[in-house]
């Protein structure tokens, strides 16, 4: 009977056409909707609270934000025993389970109450609250290495990483990071960080206030999350393909995940084997068992006009293509001793460009002729020159003693820290002239490579840690400054920089923006805020930031990609995934107007 009613409902909606149906029709069969209000203690409306609905299998979640009157409305594709949770900074979660039938519009009111204990309040804080209070003797001198080398793989300060430890135990942890993840800390920096973490993470609850900001714009948004893999899955980048599916690289397991956002179906494509040991060229280091079982280490993706997905394989030093239609893979060995192919982009002529981070190179690959041209970038100093020249050899020595990391004992980084490599990282193509631009993470530079003459020019950035830049449609380069929690703008015509500090959610906190992307129509910049579980949206017109709090604690995002429907998508990529709230990595999309559409459809305004 219910199915029949739903079918009639769908038929009626069809009369109005698809666009009208989005706004006017009740949810279709198999889709439950919820509406109601969230109040804080005393019945006061909770503004900006997140209402998250998890499906019956707890594999997918959708979230909307409450309006000023505390109201919310959400249409989901779920039915059955759903979990509904309201969350707002400063309050304990309000969670309930409700069985909601397909096509049902359930009314749910939730009340947020104060935390019962100071410990519970402290546990709900983001990593940024904890690492902002670490007792650095000289923040400007000592903290940059911590941000640069510790925060880029994971948050330090969340529930799994702020466990009280002795200096010796922290030294052992930092040794593990060095031997297992190639953290480039000098011996002195390691000792300092171990000392600060031992004194700073003392297990005592923090009493601080955080505000993620509520706004009418936030109340219009909706977040969708799809869980991926297990607690060891390491999804790195996510990219929306021309077919509107989300492609995501699992760097630890040589898998390309493909998500159909409409059906929620997740496809698992395993990369072809290669004649290398576990860890690929990095088999000498002690890669974390479980998280890294693969050989290729697929990292970044870009798509050519024929629909092929191009993947930089960081561990095997190869470029790979994947045809989504035939599911055929092709592997291309990169010449000239590449170490850690990193970000990849495709220009208007379908030429594939990519950075090779640890060997300081830019790669160019022509899919038609299947030929490479590798350009060595300026070394930026003699120490970096020596280190980059010898790094491939050092890795090979390491591979003779699998997973022992012996070769690090003759590396230069224990003395110089990250200053041993320039590390070209993000890359993008200027839409105005087709030139290739890159950011050098450790050298603190951006550079331009002429695609015809291969001449290179570089500039120092005003803020440190330029990571993954992107061009807007007017040829302005936007650059996240990871090490200084900022956003930079560079105009290649005037050769002038502008920079902004990212606002924090609490006193003294800092932000770690890993990547950004520019939405073509609006010109707005969407960027990661990986220290405080947020996504930022910057308006180049008003020069202001707004933030979207993540429904999930421990949200570390990588690249951003836009779907044709306006969704802003990324991957929740904290290493390890089991440290993420719920213990799983996820693909996620923010629909900036998704919440508003649900409100209109359900008549809640």
């Amino acid at each position: 009977m219910r199915a029949k009613t739903a079918a009639m409902s769908r038929f009626a909606c069809g009369l109005f056409g698809l666009s009208l149906a989005v706004f006017l029709c009740p949810p279709s069969a198999g889709a439950a909707a919820l509406k109601g209000k969230v109040s804080a203690s005393g019945g006061k409306p909770a503004y900006g609270a997140m209402v998250t609905v998890s499906d019956a299998a707890r594999e997918r979640r959708e979230t909307v934000y409450t309006a000023e009157d505390g109201s919310f409305a959400i249409r989901t594709p779920y039915a059955g025993e759903l979990e509904i949770r309201a969350r707002l900074a400063g309050f304990a979660d309000a969670t309930l389970t409700r069985t909601v039938a397909a096509s049902e519009i359930a009314s749910v009111d939730l009340e947020l109450k104060p935390f019962k204990t100071p410990e519970a309040a402290s546990d709900a804080l983001s990593a940024s609250a904890f690492n902002a209070r670490l007792p650095w003797r000289d923040v400007t001198k000592e903290r940059p290495a911590f941000i640069s080398q510790c925060n880029y793989c994971h948050q330090v300060g969340n529930a799994t990483t702020r466990i009280p430890k002795s200096h010796e135990q922290w030294m052992a942890t930092l040794d593990k990071m060095e031997k297992g993840l190639m953290s480039l800390l000098s011996a002195g920096e390691k000792a300092t960080i171990a000392d600060v973490l031992a004194r700073g993470f003392d297990g005592k609850p923090l009493v601080v206030a955080q505000s993620y900001g509520a706004s009418p714009t936030l109340a219009r948004a909706k977040v969708k999350e799809w869980l991926v893999g297990d607690g060891y899955t390491f999804v790195h980048d996510a990219m929306v393909g021309h077919d509107q599916r989300i492609y995501s690289t699992d760097e630890g397991h040589d898998i390309l995940w493909v998500l159909d956002r409409t059906t929620g179906k997740l496809e698992r494509n395993v990369q072809p084997d290669i004649d290398l040991p576990r860890g690929g060229m990095f088999s000498g280091i002690d890669l974390p068992i479980g998280t890294f079982t693969g050989k290729h280490g697929p990292h970044s993706m870009a798509e050519t006009s024929d629909g092929r997905i191009w993947i930089t394989n960081a561990l095997s030093g190869t470029l790979m293509s994947f045809d989504p239609k035939s599911r055929a893979w092709r592997t291309y060995g990169i010449p000239d001793d590449p170490v850690y192919p990193h970000t990849v982009r495709v220009d208007r002529r379908d030429i594939v460009w990519f950075t090779i981070a640890a060997s300081n190179q830019i790669g160019r690959f022509d899919p038609k002729t299947e030929t490479f041209r590798i350009t060595r970038l300026p070394s930026n100093g003699i120490v970096r020159w020596v280190s980059q020249e010898l790094f491939p050899t050092l890795l090979r020595i390491g591979s003779w003693f699998p997973h022992q990391a012996y070769h690090l004992n003759i590396s230069t980084h224990p003395f110089f820290g990250e200053r041993v490599l320039p590390f070209p990282y993000g890359i993008d193509i200027n839409p105005k002239d087709g030139s290739v631009w890159y950011a050098k993470l450790y050298a603190g530079k951006i550079g331009r490579l002429d695609p015809e003459t291969f001449e290179v020019e570089e500039w120092d950035t005003p803020m440190k840690g330029p990571r993954r830049p992107r061009f807007d449609k007017d040829g302005i380069l936007w650059i996240p400054a990871f090490d200084e929690g900022g956003l930079m703008r560079y105009d290649p015509v005037t050769k002038e920089f502008q920079s902004w500090k990212i606002p924090s959610v609490g006193l003294g906190e800092y932000e770690t923006p890993y990547a950004l992307n520019v939405e073509t129509k609006s010109g707005e910049i969407w960027m990661a805020a990986n220290n405080s579980d947020r996504v930022l949206r910057f308006s180049p017109v008003s020069k202001t930031f707004m933030s979207y709090p993540s429904p999930t604690r421990v949200t570390v995002l990588r690249d951003f990609s836009f779907a044709a429907d306006g969704s802003v998508c990324s991957s929740s990529s904290n290493l390890p995934a089991y440290a993420i709230e719920g213990g799983r990595a996820a693909l996620l999309c923010i629909e900036p107007d998704g919440g508003a559409k649900d409100r209109e459809a359900l008549g809640v305004w």
């Binding site: 020249e389 050899t393 090979r396 004992n409 003759i410």
Partner: protein, 140 residues
Amino acid sequence: MRSDTSSRPFLVQAYTVLLVVAALLTGYFGLSAWGYLVPAAVTLGLAALLWWGRWPHLLRIVLDLNVLSGALMLLVVWYGGVLGKSKLDVSGVMMIVNVVTGGPLMAVVGPPILAALRFGRTLPAWFAVNGAPSSTEASA
């Protein structure tokens, strides 16, 4: 065994100081990356051989190996494409040989010492004086 070090030539003193400085710098590196303690010790040992004028053949062999492995390593790294997949294995072996024979700093200070050993008069004479057995030792 006789040792006449009372009239130690300036060249011996200068090269010994160079080697000691190289050993100390390498050792300082070794405080952060212990692998560099090996070349530091080797360099210090060669400084001692030079200072006391002993075992010139050992000094020369170690210096030869060090300079040769360093030069070969760079050549292979830069122009070793023809070696294919073996390229990094060859440069890796060269790097290890270089490290255990005194390390990269030795490869910098080594060539003038080698040149003085091969083509000069002072160092061979110094080793001849101190390395040659005394008449008593010879008759015994």
